[in-house]
């Protein structure tokens, strides 16, 4: 079928729009596909190294497969072959990432373009009213097909059975496809891109919770809940053990149904309008919305609440998993060593908790970076021009969002410490002391997380055009150093580049001025110096 045959129909111009979408996403799309493929490949490979023998894997399956917190996080384990362990450990999460890729892709090329007025521009050309929706779905489908092919390839190369690898790849990508269709539907329902993204991500979150609760409740409980979740289907297909191909019908049927619903709604709704109306807001500003700080809070609070919920959930579950972590790792000296390296100590529970807190610090650094980069978004979108034409100075404007980044990061780390402390403490029966201990362990990450955000401020002030890519590269490098630095035997000065190398590995090490006070002070000063440099740059440069 050629697209020129579609001229004059509601699908006219689909080909041109799809090509435009590929062109606009020529970096993002390969990056998503690459990251998901690389993560699966490297993790399957390292699982093979960590649990080389059937006996070691059987021990892992016996402990990990019955640790409710891990089952809650990752899903049920159906076998102890290398493939089955890989599918257990990474299946649900890979499906989540494929779904995120699909959601962002579809909303970006439908609702976001409509909101920005770009679709109006192309819509007035010889482009049918269903063309954008179709093009977005085609691009998402292409991305998922590419991901399927690459996943099968790398899984087979790692040495896993072909049939199981095909099943494993397909459970991940059919879930991605289903969420592409759900996003397409959300794009018709909502009155804006943000709301549409919110609906689709909400469905993804609900899918995760349904399967988590269903899985963790055990056979006697509400285990059928897993069957209600597209993410649950990824486990229910049991790749590498039974390869239940018929389960793949479920995501494909959901894709078809959601796509059909999206098309029906796209035909009946007006351009620019959604079926769920935008709620009217206040006709006058409240006393809170008074200056740049009130505005920054108003703009960023929703995102912060989302991060807080994510942190509470993740770290409560990770904390709860700490009990029994010793027996889980029992079969693998290498994994014990890995945790000991990341956590910086040998007592395995403390090492695990310290490692979890390190991850909290890294995630909080990512939040802080995104909060700082809001400044750049405001600048490129044009709101900064309006704001800076008022009596708001550049410094105050910059500080307003930096303040949100600092407070938000502190709050997130506190949430991580509290949640992990409660999760672990309630299972061991000593919630009070564990909460206090882990709260401290989380809060010592703050200066390091803020130092990473400081790099974003410097880039924004001195090299605004490179700031978004640059700041995320910094975050990526910190994550790589923290997770793989010692495994890759990087030299000490490379490790020392990351502020997280200098954070005391709490809980477990003695808290002294030398181990804790001095590094925290230096990291705090570094963060401050970076922020001051960035703001000085902002005062000197052109805006826009």
């Amino acid at each position: 079928m050629t697209f020129s045959a579609l001229a004059g129909t509601p699908l006219a111009g689909t080909g041109a729009l799809a090509r435009l979408a590929f062109r606009r996403d020529r970096i993002m799309l390969p990056a998503w596909v690459y990251v998901i493929t690389a993560a699966i490949a490297s993790n399957s490979y390292s699982l093979n190294k960590l649990y080389p023998t059937a006996a070691a894997r059987a021990e892992l399956a016996a402990s990990g497969g019955h640790n409710p917190a891990l089952v809650f996080l990752y899903g049920r384990m159906w076998g102890d072959s290398l493939g089955a362990v890989s599918a257990w450990r990474y299946g649900v999460w890979a499906a989540i990432f494929a779904s995120l890729m699909s959601i962002f892709l579809v909303i970006r090329h439908t609702r976001a373009d409509e909101e920005a007025g770009r679709l109006e521009l192309v819509g007035s050309a010889a482009v049918g009213r269903l063309a954008a929706l179709t093009a977005a779905l085609l691009v998402a489908a292409a991305a998922n097909v590419l991901l399927t092919v690459l996943l099968i390839l790398v899984l087979v190369l790692v040495g896993l059975p072909v049939a199981g690898s095909v099943a494993f790849a397909l459970v991940i990508t059919t879930c991605g496809l289903a969420f592409a269709a759900i996003a397409a539907l959300a794009a018709q329902l909502a009155a804006g891109a943000r709301a549409a993204r919110g609906i689709a991500l909400g469905v993804l979150g609900a899918a995760y919770l349904l399967r988590a609760v269903g899985d963790a409740s055990g056979e006697s409980g509400v285990s059928w809940l897993t069957w209600l979740s597209p993410l649950g289907w990824t486990e229910m297909a049991r790749p590498y053990t039974e390869d239940r191909w018929w389960v793949l019908v479920l995501p494909l049927a959901l894709t078809a149904a959601a796509t059909a619903a999206a098309y029906v709604l796209a035909v009946i709704r007006d351009h620019g309008a959604g079926l769920l109306p935008d709620r009217p807001g206040r006709a006058t500003a409240s006393a809170w919305l008074r200056g740049p700080f009130g505005l920054a809070w108003r703009l960023q609070r929703g995102t912060l609440y989302g991060w807080m919920a994510g942190f509470a959930f993740t770290f409560a579950a990770s904390g709860a998993a700490a009990k029994g972590i010793g027996s889980l790792l029992g079969g693998s000296t290498q994994l014990r060593n890995a945790f000991a390296r990341l956590g910086g100590q040998t007592a395995i529970t403390n090492a695990y908790l310290a490692a979890i807190m390190s991850l909290a610090g890294l995630a909080a650094a990512a939040y802080a970076t995104s909060a700082v980069l809001r400044l750049r978004t405001e600048e490129t979108d044009g709101q900064a021009e309006t704001l800076l034409a008022t009596a708001t100075s550049r410094t105050r404007w910059g500080l307003s969002h930096i303040a949100i980044a600092v407070l938000g990061t502190a709050v997130l780390l506190a949430v991580a410490g509290l949640a992990a402390g409660l999760g672990y403490g309630l299972r061991t029966g000593s919630a009070g002391p564990e909460v206090a201990k882990l709260l401290g362990a989380a809060m010592v990450q703050l200066p390091a997380s803020l130092a990473v955000a400081g790099a974003a401020v410097v880039l924004f002030g001195l090299a605004p055009r490179a700031s978004v890519a640059g700041a995320w590269t910094v975050v990526g490098v910190m994550v790589l150093i923290a997770l793989f630095g010692q495994v890759l035997r990087l030299s000490q000065w490379v490790l020392d580049v990351s502020p997280f190398t200098h954070v005391p590995k709490l809980p477990g090490v003695a808290v002294t001025v030398h181990t804790t006070g001095a590094p925290l002070l230096w990291l705090g000063l570094a963060a401050l110096a970076l922020a001051v440099t960035g703001l000085a740059g902002l005062r000197r440069r052109d805006i826009g």
Binding site: E115, G192, R194, A389
Partner: protein, 304 residues
């Protein structure tokens, strides 16, 4: 009379592109000044330098007696700005944004709630709607209301009617007229000439980052030609008269363009031939404008 804005030989380049190349602009206090030029002539760049958003590469610029870069924050308490491409915060309502911008300008330019509500009514804006749901015209209205409701001495409006329908454009013109009555200074950048013609006391036309012409419309017309259209009793001969251009004779019908210095001589010849009907039309701003720009397109000395 003092000047609210004084710009001399202003230069600004972006990389290799020279956006402003010696621009002059004087806006007197209390006047409505139209700042005209096609897209890309440098209007917005000039305004952004005046707002302290961009740093000039050379020349002088003063705004309300201060340095637009160094004194930006204090100067901004005395002015209100409407950008050409209004972007608002999608999650805030129009009413919230109007109030917020008023508060951000500081107490000296605070929004008077009565004026605010009256303007919302006049522009028929729904202030409870989220900004993401507004059309371009409605976004423009939000920024205009926020600026007009303020007590600022100087209004800087960058193509303020670009998204407005004709009805709202008329409301806008009334509002600018009101502001003139209240003694406020308005810098109105535009490429809509009818708007400038209807509103402006003085006009500056810029081309390629330089001032092409500046003055009152009367002064500028003075420098250019009047179109004369006459029905005569007998054919008249204008040959040999200096300052007469584009003569078209069709029997007893004559049409030509006349420099103002030659008007008297032309009329003498026409009355000598016996005038049956006569229209003399001063050049419209559009003709002035086109003269500058088509000269540019077709090379120096070419006629429109």
């Amino acid at each position: 009379m003092t000047n609210a804005i004084e710009v001399r030989a202003l230069r600004k380049s972006f990389g290799r592109t020279q956006a402003l190349d010696g621009l002059d602009l004087d806006v007197r206090s209390g006047e409505v000044h139209a700042f005209l030029g096609p897209n890309g002539a440098g209007k917005t760049t000039t305004i952004r330098i005046l707002l302290g958003l961009l740093r000039k590469n050379g020349g002088e610029a003063s705004l309300l007696g201060g340095d637009p870069w160094r004194d930006a924050t204090t100067l901004h308490t005395r002015l209100a700005y409407v950008p050409g491409d209004v972007t608002l915060w999608p999650g805030l309502t129009g009413g919230e944004i109007i109030d917020l911008l008023g508060r951000l300008r500081g107490s000296r330019s605070a929004v008077d709630p009565k004026r605010r509500d009256a303007l919302i009514e006049r522009f028929a804006l729904d202030p409870a709607k989220k900004a993401r749901a507004y059309s371009k015209g409605n976004r423009q209205k939000v920024a205009l209301i926020a600026a007009l409701a303020s007590d600022a001495e100087l209004l800087i409006l960058d193509e303020p009617t670009a998204g407005l329908d004709p009805l709202m454009e008329a409301v806008f013109r009334e509002c600018v007229d009101d502001e003139r009555q209240r003694g406020r200074t308005v810098l109105l950048s535009s490429h809509i000439l009818a708007e400038a013609e209807a509103l402006a006391d003085r006009v500056t036309i810029i081309r390629d980052g330089r001032t092409a012409e500046t003055g009152t419309l009367a002064e500028m017309r003075h420098l250019t030609r009047t179109t004369v259209d006459a029905e005569l009793a007998r054919p008249a001969v204008l040959d040999g008269l200096p300052g007469v251009h584009a003569v078209e004779v069709n029997g007893t019908h004559l049409r030509c363009e006349v420099d103002h210095t030659a008007l008297n001589d032309v009329l003498t010849r026409l009355t000598a031939a016996g005038v049956v009907a006569l229209t003399c039309r001063p050049p419209t701003l559009e003709e002035l404008f086109l003269r500058h720009y088509s000269a540019e397109r077709t090379g120096p000395g070419a006629r429109p």
